[in-house]
């Protein structure tokens, strides 16, 4: 047990620091030690940076990646722990912008723009809902007390630990032997012809070619899902007493 811990302290240290940070920040009453949680969170982020995010390629790309990653993670932590639902929606907007920046680094500019457009509408509607439905005079009781904060954070960080352990295993040993099932293009199958490697990865042309040749059934299904969701939302939305919306 102790040997396992000493072998995997690079995995366990950021997890423990992050768990303490999120557990301290969980809304459980009037008093939260935010400064202590911030110290633990920054230490956890630095541990993740030094042990899990090695420098990869050009310096400018690394700087952008680290900035967007830190924005996404800090915004996510503050979103799930903020007392005020309006601020939580604002933090979610920050996370969405940071994820769009990471999409740009992943050479997906079209997806970045599409995500901004879709989530701009979604976040504005969510704002309207929060302002209309939540109490405007301070945060409500159910926002000031989390439900089962200790158990939930423990299980969440257990999930994160399992994911990162898997990542460590295939990134460490299997990649040294020349890649494994995650990393290799399957040899026995023919690749999807519309999605093969091109020079202009991420442009509207390549995404459209992939969507409308290889994944045209997925596009049809997505359209059907949108139609059914529209019908369902109209059916579920509350009606006025007059009978029309």
């Amino acid at each position: 047990m102790t040997t396992w811990i000493t072998e995997h302290w690079r995995l366990l240290l950021p997890l423990a620091l992050g768990w303490v940070c999120v557990w301290l920040l969980m809304p459980r009453g009037p008093h939260r030690s935010r400064a202590l949680a911030g110290i633990f969170g920054l230490a956890g982020l630095l541990a993740v940076k030094f042990y899990w995010l090695p420098p990869s390629g050009p310096l400018l790309q690394d700087i952008f990646f680290l900035t967007f990653a830190a924005m996404a993670i800090i915004g996510g932590v503050l979103m799930i722990t903020d007392h005020n639902p309006v601020y939580a929606a604002l933090w979610f907007a920050i996370v969405t912008l940071a994820v769009c920046g990471l999409f740009l680094l992943n050479s997906a500019p079209f997806l970045s723009a599409a995500t901004v457009i879709v989530y701009a509408g979604a976040i504005i509607v969510t704002f309207l809902f929060v302002i209309a439905l939540a109490q405007q005079s301070g945060s409500a009781m159910y926002d000031r007390r989390a439900s089962h904060p200790t158990l939930a954070t423990l299980s969440g960080f257990l999930l994160l630990g399992c994911l990162m352990f898997t990542l460590q295993e295939w990134g460490g040993q299997a990649a040294a032997e020349g890649g494994n099932a995650f990393l290799k293009v399957p040899a026995g199958t023919t690749a999807n012809l519309g999605s093969v490697a091109t020079e202009d990865l991420g442009s509207l042309r390549s995404v459209g070619r992939s969507l409308f040749t290889d994944y045209v059934y997925a596009v049809e299904i997505a359209g059907t899902v949108l139609l059914i969701a529209t019908i369902g939302a109209i059916c579920m939305a509350p009606r006025r007493s007059q009978g029309n919306l």
Binding site: L53, F92, L183, S210, Y215, L226, P238
Partner: protein, 147 residues
């Protein structure tokens, strides 16, 4: 083929976002924030998809992400309609008010809050400011008939 360490960084960030979304889904009690936490998990998933797409140099990951985006938009619309309906029933966004939705012969998971929920607030009647002289007669006596 892309860079392995770049892929690993993206996967770590995606995993962290997914776990944070899961924690938010479990701990928040506001219905709107539960929906936003699910969207946070979807962000982590689409980050993974685009990272693998870039690593393999194909556009398949971005096509999958378009699918994820569509499904998340549908989910947001349906969830907001559902939240509005639930809010109009109980006048609250607390998810604990809905913990007894099972069959009637099953054991109740929580105390039934329906009886405990406060009555709807009565609207105060509008009051006019008094104008003119006060009436002279005492309140108990009937007013004098007009000639």
């Amino acid at each position: 083929m892309g860079d392995l360490s770049h892929l690993q960084g993206q996967l770590v960030v995606g995993a962290i976002l997914f776990a944070l979304g899961a924690i938010g889904f479990l701990t928040r009690r506001n219905l709107i924030l539960i929906m936003l936490s699910a969207e946070l998990m979807l962000h982590g998933v689409s980050l993974n998809l685009t990272a693998f797409g870039q690593y393999h140099g194909t556009a398949a990951g971005q096509a999958f992400t378009v699918m994820v985006l569509t499904v998340s938009a549908c989910e947001a619309g349906l969830a907001l309609a559902l939240i509005l309906t639930l809010y109009r029933r109980r006048r609250s966004l607390d998810v604990n008010l809905w913990s007894n939705l099972g069959e009637p012969d099953l054991p109740k998971l929580a105390q039934d809050i329906l009886e405990v929920s406060p009555a709807p607030r009565e609207q105060p009647l509008p009051k006019l400011t008094p104008a003119g002289p006060l009436p002279r007669y005492p309140k108990s006596a009937p007013p004098a008939a007009k000639p």
